[in-house]
Amino acid sequence: MEVLRNLYRRRTRTVLTVLGIAVGIFAFTVMGAMAEKFNRIIHGGEAYFQRRIAVHSTGGLLRLNLLRPVDIDIMRSTPGIRHVETQVMLALDETAGFELAPRFLVGIDLPNFARAQLLGGEAARLHLQRGTWWQPGEEGVAVLGSAVARKMKLDVGDFLEARGRKFRVMGVLQETLSLPDGWALVPEDEARALLLESSPLLRALALERFWTNAYALIDPTDGNRLTDQLAHSLQRGYLLHSPEQLAKATDQASTLLNTAIMGSGAIAVIVGALSVINTMFIAVGERTREIGIKKAIGATRWDILREFLGESSLIGLMGGLLGVVLGAVLTSSMNRWAAGQGTPVFLLTDRLVVAAMGFAMLLGALAGLLPALRAARMDPVQSLREL
């Protein structure tokens, strides 16, 4: 109670100091929510590739970036590769320009896709949120990722119009907070036909079967060995990523991103903490006589230290609470706006809220430490001379 009253006694100063911390924690929360979102995307990708070797064509002659049946056969016949998942991927809307969550038409062969889902591990599995998958042989059908459905305001039974074709929406996938949210899955042959339509060169080459992406499904422990083996057996012009390489790359990207984003948020909080130091030094100066009286009637150094640390921690806590609430309001309203554009940009996780509050309180306490130590070490005789 005394702590609260002391803060109330200097309420203007308290409010300004709390605001200083709140602004810092607000920045920390917003930037942290952005980092959490990127982390989720990065780690979603990591989970997806945990049991997959991704094979990309570097183009070779004519830079077509395509995989042919002969390449897929080489992969399939390699011992240790349990399955080869194939996709034909192309931009859903070439006129869309920059998108926060890029949308793709992803052509899949349903039995091939189903087997990959089975072997790819639970973390990489896509689940239907509503509707059904199409039947093999059906045409003009699609299953949409959550961001595509939201952005294009489509639901089961509606029609997706993409690159001049109409696809009846059969189902909508659960949100993964990762890349598949931007996918519209369609039958492989139709995606391939669309790609051919858009490229006179491909038509001239008269290719019948080709894919843009292939993934070798493996046991996670076999990643590096099989990647080396495939690098030898496939012709030149392919880029292979083992799960280990991808995990390392995503970890590095994630660390770099977290350091940059959280670091700038932390700087904002530290600036707020400086205002707490200032406020607490003023408070100690003003209450010198009080400290003297308390020491005279038996307060120990620890009693005095605890009192001032309590005040600065409470300032930190209040600033943290206000900052997190403001951050939550901003990120949720930005997300509502961004949801209309495709995918939310912020992810306010429990651990971020706990970290922001803990950080605020810890900084409050640390910022109060020097002034509190000065108060605790005051000579009672000197302090009592103050009026």
Binding site: M1, E2, R5, N6, R9, R289, E290, I293, K294, K295, A296, I297, G298, A299, T300, R301, D303, P380, V381, L384, L387
Partner: protein
Amino acid sequence: MLVEAEELVKVYPMGVRALNGASLAIGRGELVGIMGRSGSGKSTLMQILGCLDRPTAGQVRLDGIEVTRLADRALPAVRLRKLGFVFQAHNLIPTLTALENVALPLRYLRLRPAERLARARGMLETVGLADRLHHLPSQLSGGQQQRVAIARALVNDPALILADEPTGALDTQTARQLLSLMRRLVAERGQTFLVVTHDPVVGQACDRIYEMEDGRITSTG
């Protein structure tokens, strides 16, 4: 004797000798005054007897404990358990009510909140402020504030209460009321007071007076 001070010397770093061989003895249940002009050393003597400062030489025995031999970290416990303080003015913590001010030493004694408040309430009743429990110091008159200070000094049942010019900021009428309260506490509870003052009215209320001059006790009356 409750308090025995022998040959106390206090020399400050700049070479000022505030005490120059002062000795005194106070028995239980006495109201003793220390009088003297400004700069005679009476405040320094009170600070040393109150374990707020240490003498350069000499010793103090308080309730059987030779406090001048104790380590610095042991002194807050002596102040908490053996002593009570009343200062001239601005005695109270402005953010605490009268009741909370009186209960403060008990908080440092780590008593439970309910017990603290019960004892503090009883002490405020003793000094005649049962109807001012929840008033802040700014809502009390000067005399009432000094009575709260006395209640706070009494609440931990100290062996000795040190009062530094307790009537200095009060009018004559209020000062007399405060002195009569102190006399009543001596008579009814056997409380011991050491009062530093240069007010002759206070002097008259004391059982004995030590006169101080140039850091020495010059006479006892």
